[in-house]
Symmetry: C2
């Protein structure tokens, strides 16, 4: 039974003396002072506690650390600081699991729409959701809108912008967003998610502009805009879909003895941060996650987690129409499949979209 | 001579065919579509170009890629997407150098105060700047204020909060910030920088509160709050010092064949993003950067970079009073030295601060 008063983190620890190292992690991530220097009268109920260290032959040891829930201050950002902030700068420690008390989970943003809400907004109650990206950068707003029309007419559920689009001269944000929103509306029943990558105050302005221009939500890059940007977008755009993009988050999930397991980052943490759907690089494409890692991300996005709504996993990255049936069988229909370049072979993106729709029926 | 029209990135590439891989990086980071699928009429001036690939015996190859400057759209966030966004999710590519045209550098935030402005605000025209952190979490606002008073009276220039402090029950933000600000003012001529880690809209509220409560700036964690948060804080708090903390940025700089070289991330990129001073883990403490890496960070923070003001490098992490003279000799006086736990050995933090001041005169 999960505790009501502690946040439990499990770390893989590489090195000679995992028990000693686990103790150092607990200190680094809470007091950041040698315990003997912590004022005894103040800190009793703020001390982290190493619950267990389990050595494993030929593999990193598993260390389980309990942090008093108050250390997170009920804030997502501080939870991230607590779980891995400073230790992210040290080698030999990798965060592989997190368990939160229900009250903290309820205090964090979580998805506003989540899997069920996205299905309702898209009008697809049961089947797999099909998505693609508008690209490449360098196309004009007119060209992007024409492409979006064809893709929507081909039956795709979600037409998002590529993360390479910004406020560039070829297709400025304020010009292209209303045009593409109109094209998608005319093309079919799909939704349109422009990418929002302005900094700070400009971020909220862009989300507001997208909302008023008839978009159906936004694509946000928490690795650039910050983890709080997901919930911020949902606040500014009530009812809008918030889709998370993994740009600039790869440092954490690279193979090795540091960072964060992909299912924790791209499943659990982005879900708690408020993504309705989360893109991650699927296996077999041009990125390096394994099949097991990808299915673990999907599971972390959807499995019961107190009262936090399920998030839609959105595998992408070098996926093809041909692989769609296999991927559908593996991930199941509660998934947003993101197919990019393969819809652009040949000159008829609408026909390619129709083939993708047919392949997943 | 740097080009006026391209952003130049240098990558270390590990693997069998670095030339082919460099070509894939250029595509991934710009069009994200096989070049033959990119609409020919639209994209000529948005194509990235591999300038050179230099194999090195027993070491990763060096690949130099030129990106048309317009791809960044004049935005810091998009520059980060461009330099490493998707490729951060792939192994075998590490960003080790960046060169920008002057016009783009001028469009990015950069430090508002920078090294010279922080010196002016602190009232220390030439000597090394000495800083420490208020910790551990678990102390009350009253205890933290009493400690801050002693440290300021001991002659420290900068008293910042630990990144482990948030809005927790022991010392809520709204209670502790005015108290500590007052204590530091009474204690000496040092400045006080509370940590701001609320998400999204709350971030700006906290910065505003800190400004109005008499703080001298804020500590910001761009790995959590986003890179745009540094400039956002400077906007909300004119004249306030913006100090960057590396929490949750470690995934990128871990040793290995991916991510970002520490001097690029903690020097160049944080400086462009608007940090007046940037904390990084120094060698010899409990983190893993080498002496050469740390001195390269300090150099990237201070060296000429078009008209971008110099940023103060702020080495920290397990540093001691005893090592201060050695570190001062290595880093030079244009440095903010962050000394933590070592000021707390014994019962007299004021005396310890005085010893630190004496050791660096």
């Amino acid at each position: 039974m999960p505790s009501t008063s502690v946040i439990t983190a499990v770390y893989e620890i590489t090195g000679d003396d995992p028990a000693a190292r686990a103790g150092l992690v607990a200190v680094e991530q809470s007091h950041e002072l040698p315990t003997e220097l912590a004022p005894a009268n103040a800190v009793r109920d703020s001390l982290a506690h190493v619950r267990s260290v389990e050595p494993r032959a030929g593999r990193p040891a598993l260390a389980t650390v309990d942090y008093p829930v108050d250390l997170a201050g009920g804030e997502l950002g501080q939870l991230l600081v607590l779980l891995l902030g400073n230790v992210s700068l040290q080698d030999g420690v990798r965060l592989i699991d997190v368990e939160l008390p229900a009250a903290l989970a309820a205090a964090l943003p979580g998805p506003r729409l989540g899997l069920a809400g996205v299905r309702a907004r898209v009008g697809e109650p049961r089947g797999a959701l099909l998505a693609t990206a508008l690209k490449p950068v360098g196309m004009t707003a007119e060209q992007l809108a024409a492409l979006a029309f064809e893709l929507a007419a081909g039956g795709l559920h979600v037409i998002k912008e590529d993360q390479g689009l910004a406020d560039q001269p070829w297709a400025p944000f304020a010009e292209r967003v209303p045009r593409i929103a109109e094209a998608v509306r005319k093309g079919g029943s799909g939704v349109y998610l422009p990418v929002v990558n302005g900094s700070a105050a400009r971020f909220a302005d862009q989300v507001r502009f997208a909302r008023d221009a008839g978009a159906d939500g936004v694509l946000v890059m928490p690795g650039i805009a910050g983890f709080g940007a997901l919930a911020h977008a949902a606040e500014v755009f009530p009812g809008g879909i918030v889709l998370a993009h993994p740009s600039f988050l790869g440092g954490f999930t690279a193979a090795g003895s540091h960072g964060i397991a992909p299912d924790v980052l791209f499943g659990t943490l982005l879900r708690l941060a408020g993504a309705d759907a989360g893109i991650f690089p699927s296996w077999g494409g041009r990125f390096s996650f394994t099949r097991d890692q990808c299915l673990a991300i999907a599971d972390a996005a959807r499995r019961p987690l107190h009262d936090v709504p399920a998030m839609l996993p959105a595998p992408g990255g070098g996926m093809t129409i041909e692989r769609a049936p296999e991927l559908l069988a593996d991930y199941g229909p509660d998934t947003m499949f993101l197919i990019g370049g393969d819809l652009r072979r040949g000159d008829d993106p609408r026909r390619a979209a129709e083939r993708l729709v047919a392949a997943t029926r």
